[in-house]
Symmetry: C4
């Protein structure tokens, strides 16, 4: 059987490769003069911005994935499958980041589509997380012991919060792609620093 | 010597990189209008479908590899070599997936070839699994103790089942590439969820 | 929560992928004759030199990252975020290495820009290290017990030393790109071999 | 400090990424007819052959690296540096494999150069291994206890054997590139299966 330790190790490796592949979309520019090179490097700002936001988001996904699996006691086959689906969504992010970087600077309708697709891959990722949590926590079947009902409800709220959030981001994408990217950056930094953002505290009973 | 733990860790890393490289074949389209971008993204459906199926298949390979190595007590040199050959087959999958995605939409004879090559890499992978199992289980030489003869026969049946299955898929490839891809998807989901599909339960005697 | 062990494992994986991606910039040349092939392979010296220096630098980053996390007792959210930012800087290195290799041979102003950007990614990396150390060591909040004040001051000096060093490298970049690359090579070898270069000894009190 | 466990984990990850990157050189062919696709896939035989040989060689490098580090008790700074240099040589192999695959079919002087460069990267790798072993075993300074002088001499012979072997391969490269590739395949399979090929048995005294 797949243990939680192995599920984490494999997920870590996939997430580590996905986060590193983000750099492959930042290409060396061709420039025939020094001024041209400065401009070409500067013109790549949508790549740098998308790279930074996606790197941050995937980094937080990694941390939250550990929080989630930490409270899972055992892995059954549907959970392993849901985890593969989550990874499938995460690995899409280098593609949607490249799409965002390609169409962000032009503005207009194409940038809206790119930002919507970008947000949509985050929504898929959030769906994966929610599905894993709901499957594991339903009747507490795969969780470690000690969670109170209130704790479970709070964690469920934390995990499913991403869904409306990313749905809103898709909406904003059709208004302004840069605003959409900024929103993702703010959400990522909030999640990274907020004491309880999307993370799971071990049950108080277990640690008591 | 290579221990089972290290064999698993290295195989995990190779499988994790291979599964993530699948995304490199989904390229950002060039489009000069919003409508063009929607169409270009939609036209990539063979890439998305192949990506999803291959991701699922490799994810299941990963889980089954653990099931297999879990019941192996020690690694000898031929087993390590067979494992390298198995990984060699798995790492071919990103290539055959790209081939499938490239020729699936056109239909016709080229799509049949692509689907056949795609199925052939799965057959190679299945051959690798069967070879590892047969080498390890022959006279129980590398297995943990406790398997009954009936259990061994059942596992052998489970592992070698992939061979005729993928041979059939190669046949179907020459009739219809989409049907072949759908078959792989169904087999993958079945294996992912079926209680005993391709996986190995530890011997009852050992856990009793 | 993210433990130090998991932070290290994830960082290791990201660094391992980043260091290996360096090879993707060394491309097979097209040549129509044997002499042409020798020359084309020889003309790639900026790629080989940049590859070697960056590989060495990232290898040392990896070792120093372990030295750093070894004396960290627990990971809090800001530390995990700072670590993601450090990785973000490290993963930029394959890009800046490719930029360096592309514009080094031409000489002139473009090579100065490339060398400056190359050094700048190292400066970012050094900033990340300093930030992690300063956050962890401030009031000893995240460190293992046993460091004396003198030891802490010495380590702080070691880590923040990279900042002026890489600032100087940026300056030298605008004089001579090859000299800048040679400087990075010397610094890397010094750090690799020097008993105390950038590394952290565990507190004497703890090991006493 | 870097421990042997971490040195192995990092080396494993780098080797796993390098071995998987080999597939990136096998590209999907463009073909306008079914016959054209069969031919294009068949014409890729130098890619398949080089892929298989390099995959096997790197797989064996991985196993031998564990054998080597298993008898190392502690890592000092020069050893960590030598290990980075070894990895630097291993990561070159995807490049030299692509070079081999590109110029093998044409035959003639260019194929000789490609095969010589290919063999040269293996020689570099072998040099790295020898350097690590000689540094670690000199005066037994970094080894686990229990090796007899005769055992040390035997292992030294096993490790340094690669050097003349790969030098001979470089010579053969200038006669025939296919013969050179076949030689590498034979050596790899021999090393993979031979009871003592390049591997290290733990000291008899320690296990007695």
């Amino acid at each position: 059987m797949v243990t939680t330790g192995r599920l984490e190790a494999f997920s870590d490796a996939v997430i580590a490769v996905a986060i590193t592949l983000l750099i492959l979309d930042i290409k060396v520019p061709d420039a025939s003069s020094a001024t041209g090179l400065w401009h070409a490097l500067g013109d790549r700002w949508p790549n740098y911005a998308s790279y930074a936001v996606s790197f941050l988001v995937i980094g937080i996904i990694w941390a939250n994935h550990h929080s989630l699996i930490d409270v899972v006691e055992r892995v059954n086959r549907p959970l392993a499958l849901l985890n593969v689906l989550l990874l499938m969504a995460i690995v899409l992010i280098p593609f949607s980041t490249a799409l965002m970087a390609r169409y962000l600077p032009g503005g207009g309708a194409r940038s809206h589509i790119a930002a919507a697709v970008y947000s949509f891959t985050f929504l898929l990722m959030s769906l994966g997380f929610s599905a894993i949590w709901l499957h594991a926590s339903r009747g507490r079947r795969l969780l470690i012991a000690g969670f109170t009902d209130a704790e479970l409800r709070e964690i469920t709220r934390g995990f499913t919060l991403g869904l409306p959030l990313y749905a809103v981001a898709i909406g904003i994408a059709f208004v302004s792609a840069p605003a959409c990217l900024v929103l993702h950056a703010i959400v990522a930094i909030y999640y990274a620093l907020a004491a309880r953002g999307g993370s799971i505290r071990p049950p108080t009973a277990a640690s008591g």
